[in-house]
């Protein structure tokens, strides 16, 4: 069975919410829709206080190339445009909407019928994806249309659909594939058309055998779409790792996947693209997993953007007693949340409750140079060395040792027997070195 060729770990899977039907979360009383994402420029608000908006109406205009439109996920009255704390505690612009009913734009097709035919041209498809504000739902929230427009001179040869879901605990993509497999495959054909490629591979880890089986059956009579089972290995969902695993090509340092002729889209993004292109539905909701070892009802929920996480968690049975840490996203790459008064954003793939005893890091000991961090690093870096360099502010040396290649997957910190905070230091070094490189190229 295929997997990527360098490094990798296998954390306990803990997929408690696997097989749970996607439930639609209740409509929130107030929606706070962030205008900024983790990646890209914040979009500009195009509504003002007192405006009445409908579900699906544009409220934030994309600002620049790497930016995405934002649409209202609810109908009601704009109460204010203000700042809202994001997951890292910093203020971000957001549109506050008091919800009143559930009035959708007429252009959106809300029927459950599956629409198979797509007569749109390549440009029309990309334009539709762009105006629907679709971003990568794997977590990085990179605008989806940007990836569909390779830089001049580069041509994609194969479309790769990332259905790996290598983070432990999370099951939202798995469940989406089980319930909306057909729509996802239509999304894949739309993407193939947009990219003008003949071949698409859907990579699924082998711990989702039912999904592999399901998709294989559906894809049997579709030309050019392959479903590939992959060995369970973290971080296979990393773009570069997935390309390596599926087509045995490694994206060179500092380059984008299209360099080796591949474009990667997340499976949930593909579903959103189907909805946008075929049903005119912009990006206004997503499926997220709420789970944890003690979670009362681990499950998958379809949640409108802008819903406070607290209300979704309440619906899922509340925060279990003895929770020491709440992670937004998967436990390897997610952010620990300060509280649940954070609105659901496009990149929120899950909420994971960790127990007290799992939350506290163990005391740091000396590096015993066991080479485990070097062995597991999927990018072939030397985490122990990068950490030491970062501690000593050796930025040129860090750059020479390719800190910018780090994908921040956390495998090194996860595996370190001395509990050393390798990634903490490397991440800091990476941001500093990144700043140095930017100021150098700006000159």
């Amino acid at each position: 069975m295929k997997t990527f060729r360098i490094g990798g770990i296998h954390p306990a899977e803990n997929k408690f919410s696997a097989g749970q039907q996607i439930k639609t979360a209740a409509l929130p009383k107030q929606a706070v829709i962030p205008l900024a994402h983790y990646i890209g420029t914040p979009s500009e608000a195009v509504v003002k206080r007192g405006d009445l908006v409908k579900v699906g109406q544009l409220i934030g205009q994309a600002n620049g190339f790497i930016s995405a439109n934002v649409h209202s996920s609810v109908s009601g009255k704009v109460s204010k445009i203000d700042v809202q704390l994001d997951a890292s505690g910093y203020k971000r612009p957001a549109v506050f909407i008091e919800v009143d009913g559930d009035d959708w734009l007429e252009t959106i097709d809300r029927s459950r019928d599956i629409k198979r035919e797509c007569a749109l041209s390549k440009e029309e498809i990309i334009e539709k994806i762009k105006s629907a504000g679709i971003v990568g739902l794997g977590g990085a929230t990179f605008p989806a249309h940007v990836k569909l427009m390779p830089p001049p001179g580069k041509k994609a040869g194969v479309l790769i659909i990332n259905a790996v879901e290598c983070e432990s605990y999370l099951t939202c993509d798995h469940q989406l594939m089980m319930e909306h497999g057909e729509e996802i495959l239509i999304g894949v054909t739309i993407l193939m058309k947009a990219l003008q490629v003949e071949r698409a591979i859907i990579g699924v880890e082998n711990n989702k055998k039912d999904a592999i089986h399901h998709l294989k059956k559906l894809a049997a009579n579709l030309k050019g779409i392959e479903v590939e089972a992959l060995k369970v290995r973290y971080p296979q969902g990393g773009e570069k790792q997935l390309i390596d695993a599926l087509i045995r090509r490694q994206v060179p340092s500092g380059k984008i996947p299209v360099e080796v002729g591949a474009v990667v889209q997340n499976v949930a993004t593909t579903y959103a693209i189907y909805e946008a292109v075929q049903k005119n539905k912009p990006m206004i909701d997503r499926v997220m997993t709420i789970t944890g070892k003690d979670a009362p009802n681990p499950g998958n929920y379809r949640v409108r953007l802008g819903t406070y996480l607290s209300s979704v968690v309440e619906e899922a049975g509340g925060v279990p007693a003895g929770t020491g840490k709440i992670v937004g996203g998967g436990p390897m790459m997610g952010r620990s949340l300060m509280n649940l008064n954070i609105p659901m954003a496009k990149g929120s793939s899950g909420v994971v409750f960790l127990r007290d005893e799992e939350s506290i890091r163990k005391p740091v000991q000396n590096c015993i140079r066991c080479t485990k961090c070097v062995t597991v690093c999927p990018m072939g870096l030397e985490p122990y060395l990068l950490m030491a360099q970062s501690e000593r502010n050796m930025w040129p040396e860090m750059e020479a040792d390719r800190v910018m290649d780090c994908i921040e997957c956390g495998s090194c910190s996860y595996t370190c027997p001395s509990n050393r905070p390798l990634l903490d230091y490397i991440r800091f070094g990476k941001s500093t070195v990144g700043g140095i490189i930017r100021s150098r190229t700006a000159k």
């Binding site: 090509r249 340092s253 390897m332 939350s359 060395l385 027997p417």
Partner: protein, 322 residues
């Protein structure tokens, strides 16, 4: 918990720890320890217990009264050093010499550099080589195998395989005896089969990777094989090299010491090949009959250099298939 915990990702840990790894190494040494207890009886027991106790005691005293820092003797690293030191000693060594060896191993080779993780040379080997140079007679008088004997200091002695090779005084024992361990030698080095069981366990538990042991053994076998092919009269057969002296012990437990071995697979190959070549060179042309300890210590010295120049295979460096 009253307040939520905030920390950078990742939020989960493998649960691996220094003490788990060290315990794993100790478990892997048990077969060799049992074999030595059988072959050398009471002497092996006394030497091993003394070495372990002395190493742990010195680590405790130094951490508590000289460094005045946290005491970490329970992480098992001192015990590993103690057992490895004992494995390198003859079973009739007087107790005071063992204690001196333990002091050099822990005090000089390990703690003076800053404790676990900072020592450039393998502590047990430094202790052993110190004893070998200081007390050459005691360190090279090997008791002959006497199953479950109760003799300690007054055990009957005989020459090791490599000693016989050097001196040419007697005929070599059968390979079968060397594999099982029915030969004179240091406590832990005699039974190749027990050491290999330990290696299998460590590989299974992923405590070490195969690169260092395999590269050393392969190099020794190849180099000694070439010499043997050229002149079987002068040079010993590769099998004798593989199963005699401290090669197995060195390749499996000493050279694979985390702290003093290179950090990359390519580096491990260079390191292993270096140890293999040096071992055969010292054994064949050197003054001492045995060269594994010196070979490992010399390559320990090269480890920082190897780490500096040899980088792991980076992602994206491989030529892509079209």
């Amino acid at each position: 918990m009253e307040k939520l915990i905030i920390s950078p990702a990742p939020h989960i840990h493998s649960g691996d720890s220094v003490s788990k790894n060290m315990t794993g190494v100790i478990i892997a040494m048990i077969p060799a320890l049992l074999a030595s207890l059988y072959f050398f009886g009471l002497g092996a027991l006394i030497v091993t217990l003394t070495a372990v106790a002395a190493c742990m005691l010195f680590e405790l005293l130094i951490q508590k009264y000289i460094l005045k820092g946290p005491v970490t003797i329970l992480d098992g690293s001192a015990a590993v050093t103690g057992i490895l030191l004992a494995f390198n000693l003859p079973s009739n060594l007087p107790i005071w010499m063992i204690i001196v060896g333990a002091l050099v191993a822990i005090g000089v080779a390990k703690m003076s550099f800053g404790g676990l993780g900072n020592n450039p040379f393998n502590p047990a080997l430094v202790g052993r080589v110190f004893l070998l140079i200081s007390f050459p007679v005691d360190m090279t008088t090997w008791p002959v195998v006497a199953p479950l004997t109760m003799n300690y200091l007054d055990a009957e002695t005989g020459a090791t395989v490599l000693g016989i090779l050097k001196e040419g005084s007697a005929s070599l024992p059968a390979i079968k005896d060397m594999v099982i361990g029915n030969i004179p030698g240091s406590i832990g080095e005699v039974s190749a089969i027990a050491l290999l069981i330990g290696l299998a366990y460590m590989l299974f538990r992923k405590i070490i990777t195969w690169h260092i042991p395999v590269s050393i053994l392969l190099t020794v076998a190849l180099f000694a094989g070439i010499l043997y092919a050229v002149d079987p009269e002068t040079y010993a057969s590769p099998l004798v090299h593989l199963f005699s002296g401290g090669l197995m012990l060195g390749a499996i437990f000493m050279a694979t010491d985390y702290v003093t071995s290179p950090m990359t697979f390519r580096g491990m190959w260079i390191y292993g090949v270096g140890i293999g070549l040096l071992t055969v060179i010292i054994r064949t042309w050197g003054a001492y009959p045995e060269g594994v300890s010196f070979a490992i210590l010399i390559m320990n010295g090269f480890t920082p250099l190897i780490n500096f120049y040899v980088k792991p295979k980076r992602f994206g460096e491989k030529p892509n298939k079209a």
